[in-house]
């Protein structure tokens, strides 16, 4: 599907990344529209987090182009890169909250360190973010005193307090039970609509991702092998998409085969 380049907030072309001899990304390309939720699916170890960290400039890609709002980041100067960072946020798999800071201090940190706002204004905006994420009662508590779901919301409040245009979500549901997984994806969808940011999510939770996303891409063997709407993903006959999408059904078949005493033929292939 072709899109007007002006509608695209993020464009990635030919992204390569390797660690020693281990090729993780072998020419990844992706386009993300403004104010949409785009999810990159893929099995564990497919390089999804590496992809996201290359986009967020946490890791330096070996080759490839990343354009943010039409501007090529690799050719951008320090001021433009700082501007990119100001307009982006990153929600980490483990939340990466500061244990020694209270919830309010955690949320206020990016404002304190990157803006010239007054203390009163920072407090006001931080409390507003906590209120919007419905955790303002916990402002004085430390992250270790919060439940997993509340920590996730606190991390999201910190990510959103700077009013970013693009938020990277790195495996936001990793290690959560099904109810919490649903809640996290519902939270992303809800706040994406509320704040209007663009969300780029990497996950391996197919069902939740299909329900919460506007666009879906599948990362396999270091490349994007599918990109489209959730409906197109559900209808796709691409063998890798089918294998990934129908993994739940494959488990049923495998278990049935075990019960019948048959040997299991694995169709799983090593990605990265």
């Amino acid at each position: 599907m072709s899109a007007d380049p002006r509608d695209l907030l993020l464009q990635v072309e030919g992204l390569h990344k390797r660690f020693g001899d281990h090729v993780v990304l072998a020419g990844v390309g992706l386009a993300v529209r403004r104010a949409s939720v785009c999810t990159v699916l893929g099995p564990s170890g497919a390089g999804k987090s590496v992809f996201l960290k290359c986009l967020a400039e946490v890791l330096r890609p070996d080759a490839g182009e990343i354009r943010f709002d039409g501007r090529l980041l690799s050719a951008a100067g320090p001021a433009a890169r700082a501007e990119f960072r100001r307009r982006c946020s990153f929600l980490f798999q483990g939340n990466a909250l500061f244990d020694s800071l209270t919830a309010l201090e955690n949320v206020a940190l990016p404002l304190e360190q990157t803006t010239d706002l007054t203390d009163a204004k920072i407090r006001e905006r931080s409390l507003e973010a906590l209120r919007q994420l419905e955790i303002d009662d916990c402002r004085g508590r430390y992250p270790s005193q919060l439940s997993g779901g509340m920590q996730k919301r606190l991390a999201l409040a910190r990510a959103l307090v700077t009013r970013p245009e693009l938020v990277f979500f790195d495996e936001p549901t990793a290690g959560l039970d099904p109810l919490r997984r649903n809640a996290v994806f519902a939270m992303i969808a809800k706040y994406q609509r509320q704040f209007g940011f663009t969300a780029l999510v990497v996950t391996h939770d197919v069902v939740e991702a299909l329900l919460a996303s506007d666009r879906v891409a599948l990362l396999d063997r270091g490349r994007i092998c599918f990109e489209g709407t959730p409906t197109e993903f559900s209808a796709s006959t691409h063998p890798v998409v089918c294998g990934f999408r129908d993994s739940a059904g494959a488990l049923g078949s495998s278990l049935a085969a075990i019960r019948r005493g048959e040997s299991i033929q694995s169709n799983e292939h090593e990605t990265t």
Binding site: C88, S89, F90, F92, G94, P110
Partner: protein, 258 residues
């Protein structure tokens, strides 16, 4: 063998260069850091107030032991009246800066290395960078500035409590006149001795806190361990290297100043 020797040498030179860049980057980022004062105050509390009890205890016992040992040595030559001079010069020129630095390494330095190592492991340091916050400016620079303030102050405190300890064992236990003791201190100590003491303390502070911060900050570079084991290894390296650095720096400074 030559090849491996060359590799080792290059590795050490690379490490020293990387360490120098780390300090330079941290100090440079301090110039741009926002709300640095608050972070410095917090670091002063961590390095200063929390380490105060151990400085007081070690300082007092060092003075007490110096008083006992000094008295018995000076007594052989009938020079007990020089006990104050012996204790004060030993403390000011050598023992206080070194022992206070070693105590601060054991308490504040190890805590700093472990804290930064855990922050590295749990992606808090990466999180700062993604927010556009300089992790050097936010995490390291305030600690270095605090070290320049805290180490000389703690050393001065160490000297004061050590002199009091020396007076306690010399005057109260062994019978040296209190007035003789304190006038001997006053006559012996010159401003150059105090300058040397403070200079050593500041150098040791900068050196040890830099090493501890560097090791914790790069805990993920550990090749033989990951996770908690890497943090533990980084903390051990930080304490060992800092302690050695204090003694080496002490020798170098003393050899230039004596």
């Amino acid at each position: 063998m030559l090849k491996s020797l060359g590799r080792e040498t290059l590795g050490i030179l690379f490490g020293l260069g990387d360490f120098a860049l780390f300090i330079a980057q941290s100090l440079r980022s301090a110039l741009k850091a926002r709300r640095l004062g608050r972070r410095v105050v917090r670091a002063v509390y961590e390095q200063g107030a929390r380490c105060l009890p151990v400085i007081l205890i070690v300082g007092a016992f060092t003075g007490l032991v110096l008083g006992l040992q000094g008295y018995y040595v000076l007594n052989r030559f009938g020079s007990q009246s020089l006990l104050g001079a012996l204790i004060s010069l030993s403390l000011i020129r050598e023992m206080a800066p070194v022992l206070a630095a070693l105590m601060l390494v054991g308490q504040a330095g190890s805590a700093l290395a472990a804290e930064l190592g855990i922050q590295r492991n749990s992606e808090q340091i990466v999180a700062l960078e993604t927010m556009g916050v300089s992790s050097h400016g936010y995490l390291v620079a305030p600690r270095l500035i605090a070290a320049l303030l805290v180490f000389p102050l703690q050393t001065a405190l160490f000297v004061a409590i050590g002199l009091w300890g020396g007076s306690l064992s010399g005057s109260l236990l062994l019978g040296v006149e209190s007035g003789v003791y304190w006038s001997s201190v006053e006559r012996a100590v010159e401003s150059a001795d105090v300058r040397e003491c403070f200079m050593k303390a500041a150098v040791f502070g900068l050196l040890t806190i830099s090493i501890c911060a560097y090791q914790g900050f790069h805990a993920d570079r550990c090749k033989s361990a990951t996770g908690a084991a890497a943090v533990s290894a980084a903390t051990t390296r930080a304490v060992v290297q800092s302690s050695i650095a204090v003694l080496v720096a002490d020798y170098v400074i003393t050899s230039f100043l004596v």
